[in-house]
């Protein structure tokens, strides 16, 4: 598949919507809304023989009636019309297609598979890359192209994480979680039935060609030729971290086999091993995917497993310490110089060794930040988990922290923070700090610990090393 065509598909300079509509009940309406309200900057050409304008934009009876070049065609017409629409796209030299229409291989009726083969053949004839069929589309947040039927994806923060999913539903789950968690994304897409853009093609493109993608997350249910995926990673030779959520964890082996190996060779068992073999970090939930992707995108790489835990209250700090030790990280042992610095900052009324109870500095975000800086400079500490729980008396904590926080990027160590407060109280400050100056903010001490451990595993893997669970 030509890279140039994929570039035009994912970052189109013009878009036609075949099956555009002014009627809320039609997907063509929502696709138009996504493009228009999503802030697409290029020309949009609605195509519908029964309207002069749609969404107030001049509409064409047929894509071939458009004089200008079309990079991307988004097709949302009934299945019966798809073959002729694809031929028209091909004749018009459309560079790529998003085929939203469903009713193909995914349905029980065997007719679906026949129709899909027809689409495949047409696409082959014109060499058109197609996302779909049976997809909600894709969203390119980098260039503000929302080529999907869900406008709200345009509200996701722009960042470096690209999600390549086999399921539209999972994109919706993660997309909305991403908003809640302030995850910055570059692209998200559902490959649908993968008529000619399957995981290897999409992954290869975002690994090698898309500079705005720094972290890749995969959601996989099953692939016909999984080896191709691993070969793509090997041949790409880039160092972008890849994480994967594998659903459909059937342990059922080959029931016909009378061998131990055969009966244990459940599909998921092999997937698990193969993912590790290709340096892909497996995550086990949507939350873990979001947390891990966020930390990989925002934080500096971690060089070792020694973590400092700084907590405004002792309990959550201990929880974080327990959680990360279970994941293969350990509490760092501060150098005497670092410990002296902390001791001058904190009175001896709480535990000042790691995990540090910063309770005595409750009213002083300055002191907390000085402690943070001290441990960031500690040569025996590789990363920091910073925790503060809200209490009425420290209402001002995050506001002042947001003001005072220096850029921690020069320390080249990851810092994951966890601020928990009633809804609405600290939200604005958290939003201001999250993803800024090298700091990632996650929800709970356990999730912070898990994400820190995953950062460590991903960094190890990328350096060609390994980890032990």
């Amino acid at each position: 598949m030509k890279i140039e065509r994929l570039k035009k598909l994912f970052s189109p300079e013009s878009v036609a919507v075949i099956g555009a509509s002014d009627s809320f009940e039609k997907l063509g309406y929502h696709v138009m809304k996504s493009l228009v309200k999503g802030g697409y900057r290029g020309p949009i050409y609605p195509v519908n023989p029964r309207a002069d304008t749609i969404w107030g934009i001049k509409t064409y009876p047929n894509i071939k009636d458009i004089q200008q070049e079309i990079d991307l065609g988004i097709v949302a017409v009934p299945a019966g019309m798809v073959p002729s629409v694809l031929h028209e796209c091909g004749e018009k030299n459309v560079k790529g297609v998003v085929l939203i229409t469903a009713g193909y291989k995914e349905i029980e009726d065997f007719q679906g598979e026949i129709l899909e083969q027809e689409i495949k053949d047409i696409a082959e004839g014109y060499q058109i890359p197609i996302i779909g069929p049976n997809t909600f589309g894709f969203v390119n947040l980098t260039d503000r192209v929302n080529a999907s039927f869900t406008y709200e994806f345009s509200l996701i923060k722009k960042g470096g994480v690209t999600l390549i999913s086999q399921s539209g539903g999972f994109c919706h789950l993660c997309g909305f979680l991403a908003m809640e968690e302030r995850l910055g994304m570059a692209k998200l897409m559902s490959l649908g039935n993968r008529v000619n853009i399957d995981f290897p093609e999409a992954l290869g493109y975002f690994l090698k060609e898309d500079k705005s993608t720094r972290v890749i997350a995969l959601y996989i249910e099953g692939i016909d030729e999984p080896r191709k995926l691993f070969e793509t990673i090997k041949s790409a030779g880039t160092k972008k971290p890849i994480i994967a959520f594998k659903a459909g964890k059937s342990e059922k082996g080959d029931s016909a086999s009378r061998f131990h190996t055969g009966s244990l060779a459940g599909n998921y068992n092999i997937w698990r091993g193969a993912l590790r073999q290709s340096g892909i970090l497996e995550v086990k939930s949507a939350e873990e995917l979001i947390d891990t992707a966020k930390v990989l995108d925002i934080c500096a790489p971690i060089k070792g497993p020694r973590i400092a835990v700084l907590s405004g209250q002792a309990g959550p700090g201990i929880i974080a310490a327990d959680a990360m030790e279970k994941e293969g990280l350990r509490l760092s042992r501060f150098s005497s110089e670092t410990q002296d610095r902390i001791n001058t900052l904190l009175p001896p009324v709480a535990i000042r060794t790691n995990p540090v109870d910063m309770g005595p500095a409750w009213y002083s975000p300055e002191t907390m930040l000085n402690i943070l800086e001290a441990v960031l400079e500690d040569s025996d500490t590789d990363g920091v988990i910073f925790i503060a729980m809200f209490a009425s008396a420290n209402l001002e904590l995050t506001r002042r922290m947001a003001m005072l926080l220096h850029n921690i990027e020069p320390f080249k160590k990851p810092v994951i923070a966890c601020f928990t407060a009633p809804a609405g109280v600290w939200d604005e400050d958290i939003e201001k700090m999250d993803g800024q100056k090298g700091l990632a903010i996650l929800h709970t001490p356990e999730r912070a610990a898990k994400a820190m451990a995953n950062l460590w595993k991903a960094n190890l893997t990328m350096d060609g090393n390994r980890w032990r669970d």
Partner: protein, 216 residues
């Protein structure tokens, strides 16, 4: 066409490929068993050998240790009887007389998956495989780092590195896994294979039993 190769035949095939196998021969009768056992040197183990028997322990088909000629004769009779009771009218190839293995029992297997193609499995023998399914898989070919990863991935990994096993060299297993991967790459006719158990100790790594399906 498919062919199932078991017991002595499977070990012979693997030995020819350069793998270490426990010295084993098939005894046709009691006297044969005594002669082979004396050649190998007592103590030996004795096992039912027949294409009908998938799990020898299911029919009480293993005797160990056999320390002298009269025990060997008795074991032969018992094992033959056990087989005939379990599989009336079926053929017994003979009784396998084998040098005993020592060390940790591991299992190494190969399977051809419809999507992934050839995959290799590693696990610890006995209950670790049977009961808690503590095994790791990789797609073939694997390198030494993959092999190491497969070993470390096991929940039972600590058993391999415990003090009692201090003299055991995990390198042996790594090399073995890589060699099995290479063997499968060379032999596309090998469809499925269990090597179970494979003994690992400071004395080395030895395949004790194996089962291979070839497809031509």
């Amino acid at each position: 066409m498919e062919r199932l190769i078991l017991n002595v035949d499977a070990l012979y095939l693997l030995e020819k490929e350069g793998f270490n196998v426990l010295k084993s021969r098939l005894a046709k009768d009691e006297d044969d068993a005594v002669r082979i056992a004396s050649e190998i040197g007592f103590p030996v183990s004795m096992k039912v050998s027949s294409s009908h028997v998938i799990h020898k322990t299911d029919i009480d088909g293993v005797r160990y240790p056999i320390n002298n000629p009269s025990d060997a004769k008795e074991a032969f009779r018992e094992l033959e009887m056990n087989f005939k009771t379990a599989y009336p009218g079926k053929d017994l190839d003979g009784i396998m007389v084998q040098m005993p293995g020592r060390g940790i029992e591991t299992i190494v297997g190969v399977h051809r998956d419809s999507q992934f193609g050839p995959v290799i499995m590693f696990g610890l023998g006995g209950i670790f495989v049977e009961a808690i399914k503590d095994v790791s898989f990789r797609i073939i070919p694997i390198n030494k780092k993959d092999a190491r990863d497969m070993i470390e991935e096991l929940s039972a990994y600590r058993i391999l590195t415990s003090k009692r096993q201090r003299d055991m060299d995990i390198n042996l297993i790594e090399d073995f896994l890589v060699e099995v991967s290479q063997f499968i790459t060379r032999h596309s006719e090998v469809k499925e294979m269990d090597m179970n158990p494979v003994f690992v100790s400071s004395a080395g790594l030895y395949i004790c039993d194996a089962r291979i399906t070839q497809e031509f």
